[in-house]
């Protein structure tokens, strides 16, 4: 017998969290859609952690990453400009313009840094982050 709760979890598994499908994640309500500016980001506080959420309206996509830029350990990524290199969506840290893939979290400007990414979903004008 499958517990209803587990079924819910299985359905809600984040789509681009491919490599750790075994990890149980839960969707946390982060904010309202209008809290995040279009084609930009803003920061939310989730269980004591700072998460940057991006409303990539141009692509019709939502992304979330850690807010901390690993280069100088600054809580700043949510204030960065977003855009793309080829088809790869990215965010540029306001401090020194290090860029990171919004999909994989890899640093695209040639350093060895990596940032955490989270799945995002939007329902009823509310934004949820897989945490």
């Amino acid at each position: 017998m499958i517990h209803l709760y587990e079924l819910y979890r299985a359905m809600m598994k984040p789509k681009n969290n491919m490599n750790n499908t075994e990890t149980l994640t839960s969707w946390i309500l982060a904010c309202k859609v209008e809290d995040i500016p279009e084609n930009g980001g803003a920061c939310v506080l989730l269980e004591g952690e700072q998460v940057a959420i991006y409303n990539f309206k141009k692509r019709g996509e939502w992304y979330a990453t850690q807010n901390l830029c690993p280069h100088k350990q600054q809580m700043a990524l949510s204030r960065g400009m977003i855009g793309s290199t080829g088809d790869e969506p990215k965010v540029a840290c306001p401090f020194h313009k290090k860029t990171f893939s919004l999909k994989s979290g890899a640093c695209l400007s040639g350093d060895d840094y990596e940032i955490k990414t989270y799945a995002v979903k939007v329902e009823d004008n509310q934004v949820f982050v897989a945490f």
């Binding site: 939310v44 100088k72 855009g83 306001p94």
Partner: protein, 840 residues
């Protein structure tokens, strides 16, 4: 079993040998063992004086200890080699290590030559070679006011710079010869250098023979042969070098009568398994005291021992270009050739401190060599012209003066060089190699070339030439003829501006939709946002423009270490009432901000949380302040001196005019920041000649200067118009600024804009003064419209709830501040936590 290569000495050349050996696959053939006498791995001695300024030891280090470990190089520091047993092929060290070798490479370098002057042993007398020397100088300098250097050569002048950097304002250079840098430049060049250095506060004494160093335990004065006496607190001796050949002598290797280990063209000593490279080697009666020939020697020996010898050492071009205390000095080819063996052309400008000399062959066909002091921009090209026997212009003076009038004579520049022309002499990279990298491997940036060829990584002198070369190659390939914005816009900034204007596009999204492709990026977003602001002057944070702004524009403040912001209210002309000063103080007190006077005569308040910005600005606006746009690529400040209102020398009211100018152009967004100043008389206290546009009062009106800047590459502004009225002055500035805004590249300041302009200042004058383009009426109308539509961005942000609500750190907890922000206390104010300390 692997053979053993033992390196004695871990200086720049010793290190370079290891690097070359590794690069040539040497670590598969050899165990590499290195002994260094100093306690730290090799560092950049050429830029040693930077240790007192901008650079740390880490930055000066050639490669960190991990590099040696990664490449399986055994590095023994603080352990000098004490003897060589050539029969058993073994070396012994001070710390008792004994290692046998198949090849022994002596890279022992040199030691400063200290002349036997009575008193050299006193405290306060130093040599200048190692980090330890510098540390000792540093502690002594703290209690010294007057310093001197014996030796006016290259190293001596470097040492003098070190003294200046240590805060010794009264610095003297004592040279025995009749001129400075006797090996590099002639008397006239030395005279110009001397007067240039004197303006920087260094007193030069040539023809001066030091007879005695006098004092108790510590130096007090120097006594010269001509009877003069100089009181000094410290002295640096930099009178030349002597090769470190003592180990070679003990081992019975042949050395020169005046020092130096004798080597042949393979850099082999009299023992064929022992090589000597760098400053300790004596080749054909020459000791090479520069780093480039040392690197060349390292390369040759590394090739030799891996069994892949391709070339021999046959001497080295000693041409050099240096920046000595901010003054360019270069010499190349046959410097001292004189008539009747050649024809000499000399250009001298004592006011500007420029001296140029070229020696031309008697048949007028070839450049033989020359000297540049004060302006060495043409060095790379002149050196190439000598080394490659390139044809020279019919009028050879064009080489140093540029072509004046008439058509330029055929193809010149980097592309005319032959493929084997040496571009980077430190790393021996030819033009052919660079072309290959750019064309075949797509390494078409300086950074990419640094990685793939190491070009530009030594002295860096070849960087401008490498840049030119990349541009020219790409141009021949039809690649980057146009400087397009980025992958999202196939237009130059100028083209994009015209299109956005014609199509009346008002937001970034519309521009991207209509004229671009993809999703945009951090390059095109601010560039397009700047264009939109320059054209329409609508609020930058409305209609979806918010997220197309660079982060500082998005929050109308400058992000600082730790993620807080700084607040800069506009203070036009630097004039402020006591009432307003009090408000600034009260605001800073209320929000716990650090306050500092800026270089542009206003007050910067640091440490504001993003959520506090609207409230802070509300208070400032209520007191009559406006945004200072310190965050934008826009007009910053118009600095002023007091002029006729107070000053007894003033000839015009500089403050009133500065306020008028600042209020006219406030809020004007442009390709890069704009700075201005107004001086009330020729004394120029407002430093107007270092501004994008600067105004200096005359008896009859104003002189207008344009395209100057401070910063890392300071530029003197050029005189555009003389004795113009206030009204005319503003008109000229209108035209100049609009022309700049419409035609410059993104993030290009006015000086580089002028540099790239075909026809230069003469053309700019023809546009702005003579209306050569017929656009001046348009320029003035455009500027009028921008002036009329000015609104204070912060006032709008504070009063518009839609904009104001974005100023929070957590959108789901708007009242909370970023808990990671931490301050420390310094001199009774806050400062941001050191982010490097946090990283450790």
């Amino acid at each position: 079993m692997k053979k053993k290569a033992v390196v004695v000495g871990n200086g720049m050349v010793g290190y370079k040998f290891c690097e070359k050996l590794v690069a040539k696959g040497g670590k598969e053939q050899f165990d590499i063992i290195v002994f260094g006498e100093e306690p730290r791995p090799a560092y950049d001695r050429v830029h040693l004086s930077a240790y007192f300024g901008e650079k740390t030891i880490e930055e000066l280090t050639m490669a960190p200890l991990e590099w040696y470990a990664e490449n399986q190089i055994q590095l023994h520091l603080s352990d000098p080699v004490t003897n060589i047993d050539r029969e058993k092929k073994t070396i012994n060290t001070h710390q008792g290590v004994s290692v046998n070798y198949d090849y022994l490479i002596l890279a022992t370098g040199s030691a400063p030559f200290v002349p036997p002057i009575p008193g050299v042993e006193k405290d306060g007398v130093f040599v200048y070679r190692t980090i330890e020397d510098l540390d000792m100088m540093k502690s002594h300098a703290a209690k010294s006011k007057i310093g001197a250097v014996i030796g006016g050569g290259l190293l001596g002048l470097e040492a003098a710079k070190a003294l200046l950097d240590l805060g010794i304002k009264d610095t003297h250079v004592i040279e025995f010869a009749p001129r400075l840098m006797p090996r590099q430049i002639d008397q006239a060049g030395s005279d110009i250098l001397k007067s240039k250095l004197s303006t920087l506060g260094i007193k030069i004494h040539c023809n001066k023979n030091t007879q005695e160093i006098d004092g108790g335990d510590t130096i007090e004065k120097m006594v010269f042969a001509d009877g003069e006496i100089l009181k000094v607190d410290m002295l640096v001796i930099s009178a030349g070098i002597k090769p470190r050949d003592e180990l070679a002598k003990i081992a019975g290797l042949e050395v020169g009568s005046r020092g130096g280990i004798l080597v042949n063209n393979k850099l082999q000593t009299s023992d064929e398994s022992i090589f000597a490279i760098g400053e300790c080697a004596l080749h054909e009666h020459m000791i090479y005291g520069l780093v480039a020939p040392g690197y060349e020697m390292a390369d040759i020996v590394a090739s030799e021992i891996v069994g892949n010898a391709t070339k021999e050492f046959t001497g080295f071009d000693m041409s050099t270009k240096l920046k000595l205390i901010g003054v360019d000095v270069a010499s190349f080819g046959n410097v001292f050739a004189e008539e009747p063996d050649c024809q000499t052309i000399i250009y001298e400008n004592k006011t500007k401190g420029v001296y140029k000399r070229i020696n031309i062959s008697n048949d007028n066909k070839y450049l033989l060599g020359g000297i540049l002091v004060g302006d060495a921009e043409q060095y790379n090209m002149l050196l190439q012209t000598v080394n490659n026997k390139l044809p020279i212009p019919a009028d050879p003076e064009d080489l140093i003066l540029g072509s004046r009038g008439g058509e330029s004579s055929g193809e010149s520049g980097v592309m005319s060089l032959p493929d084997d022309a040496l571009i980077c002499s430190c790393e021996a990279i030819t033009k052919g190699q660079i072309c290959h990298e750019v064309m075949e491997n797509g390494n078409d940036t300086v950074d990419a070339l640094k990685k793939s060829t190491k070009a530009c990584t030594g002295c860096g002198g070849c960087t401008p030439m490498v840049k030119d070369l990349i541009q020219s190659i790409l141009k021949t390939q039809g690649k980057v003829v146009r400087n397009i914005l980025c992958e999202h816009f196939e237009y130059t900034r100028q083209e994009l501006l015209s299109l956005v204007k014609i199509k009346a596009l008002k937001t970034y999204d519309d521009v991207l939709e209509d004229l671009g492709c993809g999703d945009g990026c951090e390059t095109c977003k601010p560039a397009v946002s700047s264009i939109l602001a320059s054209l329409w002057n609508e609020n930058v944070l409305e209609k979806g423009r918010l997220t197309a702004q660079d982060s500082n524009d998005r929050f109308l403040a400058n992000i600082q270490r730790g993620g807080t912001y700084s607040v800069v209210p506009r203070i036009p002309g630097g004039e402020i009432t006591p009432e307003k000063l009090i408000v600034i103080g009260e605001v800073a007190q209320k929000y716990g901000l650090y306050t500092k006077i800026t270089g542009g005569q206003r007050i910067d308040l640091f440490g504001a949380h993003v959520g506090d910005l609207p409230a802070i600005w509300k208070l400032l606006i209520e007191a009559g302040f406006e945004s200072g746009q310190a965050y934008g690529k826009s007009l910053r400040t118009v600095k002023s001196c007091v002029g006729t209102t107070w000053c007894r020398f003033g000839v015009q009211d500089a403050v009133s005019f500065a306020i008028e100018v600042e209020n006219r152009y406030k809020g004007l967004r442009s390709p890069h920041k704009l700075k201005s100043a107004v001086s009330g008389c020729i004394r120029e206290c407002a430093e107007a000649q270092s501004k994008d546009f600067g105004i200096i009062a005359t008896e009859k009106g104003w002189n207008l200067y344009v395209c100057g800047n401070g910063g890392s590459k300071p530029r003197h502004a050029e005189l555009l118009a003389t004795d113009v009225s206030s009204e005319m002055c503003l008109k000229l500035i209108d035209r100049f600024l609009m022309f700049y805004i419409k035609t410059a590249e993104p993030l290009q300041r006015t000086a580089p804009w002028l540099d790239k302009m075909e026809g230069g200042l003469a053309y700019l004058k023809s546009v702005v003064l003579d209306d050569a383009l017929g656009l001046n009426a348009q320029f003035e109308a455009d500027m009028d419209s921008l002036v009329d539509t000015y609104k204070c961005e912060w006032k709008e942000a504070v009063e518009t709830p839609e904009i104001r609500k974005r100023f929070v750190h957590f959108v789901n907890a708007p009242e909370e501040k970023d808990p990671t922000v931490k301050f420390e206390t310094l001199r009774e104010q806050i400062k941001a936590e050191d982010w490097n300390a946090v990283l450790k």
